[in-house]
């Protein structure tokens, strides 16, 4: 594998990185501060307690805020049921881009994540499942080699355990800093989903803000059931790229969840407070 060649190369040129691997245990999280002081969409001040009660939906503009993966899990699974799997990955820098090294370290410190995807086993309304969550706070949830590998591992774990798989998507697309490696993650994750087809296992893809590019064009759009949160940006090409290409401004509401529902690419839009109930019901149908 290419890995060996590059590993040798890297050991020479790469400064050692300090990374702490967390112990396996159900995740206990405090409510995040900092990330949610102002609404990123309407810029108005947020009140922490109201926000929590409101499932992190802005109480001014009603837009669901981008959640940390940990908050998403706590909000979705039965209390204490999540056990994280597949930890210990290190993101590498295949093209030796200095800014990428800095970005990775900065994002690790900011989020305490090893990369933009976590997964594990959990229960939702008492039904066992594998749940995976992309975290848009880490490099905009972009998919590089580590995310691609962990998504594939999550699929394989569901396959081995014969559990249904739920993935919450929040991603800007392929991680450009990892170039062609990130492109190949699209093929890798999509072909792994074929395992679930063969085994008759359920895959629910939940599209949240944002779901774009190479992630939309791979596992995100391959759910047996595709749910979306309201008002999320979902698409293939970025709105700015489209505008530059066609030299027109885009119509209001283009590439939103509501737009995709109308065009037939989303099964159902589910507001955040109802998400757990709806997922639970879907799992019951397939139990």
């Amino acid at each position: 594998m290419s890995f060996e060649i590059l590993k040798k190369h890297l050991q020479k040129e790469r400064p050692p990185q300090k990374i702490k691997v967390a112990e396996t245990q159900p995740v206990q999280v405090e409510v995040p501060l900092g990330l949610y002081e102002d609404c990123p969409f309407c810029q108005r001040k947020l009140n922490k307690e109201t926000l929590e009660k409101n499932f992190f939906v802005c109480h001014h503009c009603e837009k669901p805020l981008r959640l940390r993966s940990i908050d998403r899990i706590n909000m979705t699974v039965d209390a204490g049921s999540f056990i994280e799997k597949g930890k210990g990955y290190i993101t590498l820098n295949p093209f030796f881009d200095k800014t990428y090294d800095d970005k990775i370290i900065e994002n690790k410190n900011k989020t305490h994540l090893e990369d933009a995807f976590i997964y594990g086993s959990a229960r939702i309304d008492a039904e066992p499942c594998v749940i995976g969550v992309l975290d848009s706070h880490f490099m905009m949830g972009s998919m590089g080699s580590v995310v691609g590998e962990k998504v594939t591992k999550a699929i394989e774990y569901a396959y081995l355990k014969k559990y249904p798989l739920i993935i919450f998507v929040a991603s800007g697309g392929a991680r450009m800093q990892e170039g062609i490696f990130s492109l190949m993650q699209m093929a890798k994750t999509s072909s792994a989903l074929y395992l679930l087809d063969q085994a008759g296992l359920l895959f629910v893809s939940v599209l949240t803000d944002p779901t774009m590019g190479g992630v939309t064009a791979s596992f995100a759009m391959l759910g047996d059931i595709i749910l979306a949160e309201p008002k999320a940006l979902i698409g293939f090409a970025g709105p700015r790229v489209i505008e530059q290409t066609i030299k027109e401004t885009l119509p209001e509401g283009f590439q939103t969840s509501e737009f995709l529902l109308k065009k037939g690419f989303v099964d159902k839009i589910v507001p955040r407070p109802e998400m757990k109930t709806v997922l639970g019901r879907i799992l019951h149908y397939h139990a």
Partner: protein, 319 residues
């Protein structure tokens, strides 16, 4: 080794010299020029990554129509995705390859401005990918090998493309191609642009022509997104690992098809010959494989692609 002249400058000079040489009547003077011409020709052997980007996009580079003409017999084009329409940016159909019926699919770029516009500069819409998938499933039904030819800057970013599910169309192709039970062989002819290329290239054997490129975005895009400076695209091409030799070293492709000095368009007949030889060899390998081996081999190949490290973890956590 840095060069101050791009392959296109060299080519221009070469063409000029060849013209001058032809206009000479004196044999001695011609002979003297031959030396210069030969030296210039040889200097076209050492190419930078950016030179290869230029060659991959060269307007005279052999396109799919010419390749099909030269390599296959009795090609019949089939149109449409059966749902929405026919996308001229992707062509597909049936042909004989050394007497064997095969399904041929690839991007169409066109050779002049009118054709470029008609084919949308080889940037497909969802119906193009769905047509390709339809033809691939048909190939699987009739146990025909599939050969795909890639030459696209990427899938089209437009309103209609989004409305009709560009992402969904690409994703379905990726999943379906990985488990098709016939040999799938891909040649990157020119530009292998991102998901728009990959959606026809999840294959048992991916070959790149010597001067083709394959990347997640263009060097211009890489420079402007990551370095906020589109003028550094040359530099981006060098670091991005988008050339055939880079990608072979990384084991992300399976082979390289030699091109004549200065690019495929300098001697198309020689190029078609090496292309045809490569396809014949690759078909020989995969035709003899049982379905399971085809599927498993293809799946494992993509499963192993990735560049990361992992800590030693306790066995129960490694799952």
């Amino acid at each position: 080794m840095p060069k101050d002249q791009s392959i296109l400058d060299l080519e221009k000079k070469l063409d000029q010299l060849l013209k001058e040489r032809d206009s000479l009547t004196d044999e001695k003077a011609q002979g003297a020029m031959d030396g210069v011409i030969d030296a210039l020709h040889q200097s076209m052997k050492s190419l930078t990554a950016w030179d290869r980007v230029l060659l991959a996009r060269h307007p005279k580079r052999p396109h799919i129509e010419a390749v099909i003409d030269a390599l296959f017999q009795d090609f019949t084009e089939f149109h449409g995705d059966r749902f929405f329409g026919d996308d001229p940016a992707i062509m597909g159909g049936l042909a004989f390859f050394n007497g064997l019926p095969v399904t041929v699919i690839g991007h169409r770029k066109g050779s002049n401005t009118a054709e470029n516009i008609e084919t949308n500069f080889a940037m497909p819409h969802p119906e193009g990918y769905r047509k390709a998938l339809r033809l691939m499933k048909q190939a699987a039904k009739f146990k025909r090998p599939i050969m795909t030819f890639i030459d696209t800057p990427g899938a089209y970013p437009g309103i209609g493309a989004e409305e009709r599910g560009q992402a969904e169309a690409i994703a379905q192709n990726l999943k379906a191609m990985s488990h098709i039970n016939v040999p799938v062989i891909t040649v990157i002819l020119g530009e292998g642009g991102s998901g728009g290329a990959l959606a026809l290239a999840v294959s048992n054997h991916v070959l790149m022509t010597e001067n083709s490129i394959y990347s997640v975005l263009s060097p211009e895009g890489y420079a402007s997104i990551l370095w906020k400076d589109a003028s550094r695209s040359k530099e981006a091409a060098e670091v991005m690992k988008l050339t055939a030799s880079d990608l072979l070293e990384l084991r992300l492709i399976d082979g390289i098809i030699k091109e004549p000095i200065g690019g495929a368009h300098r001697d198309p007949l020689a190029f078609y010959k090496s292309l045809k030889d490569a396809l014949r060899r690759s078909l020989e390998i995969y035709l003899s494989r049982p379905d399971d081996a085809l599927i498993y081999g293809r799946y494992q190949k993509y499963r192993n692609m990735g560049f990361y490290q992992r800590f030693n973890v306790r066995p129960e956590e490694s799952k």
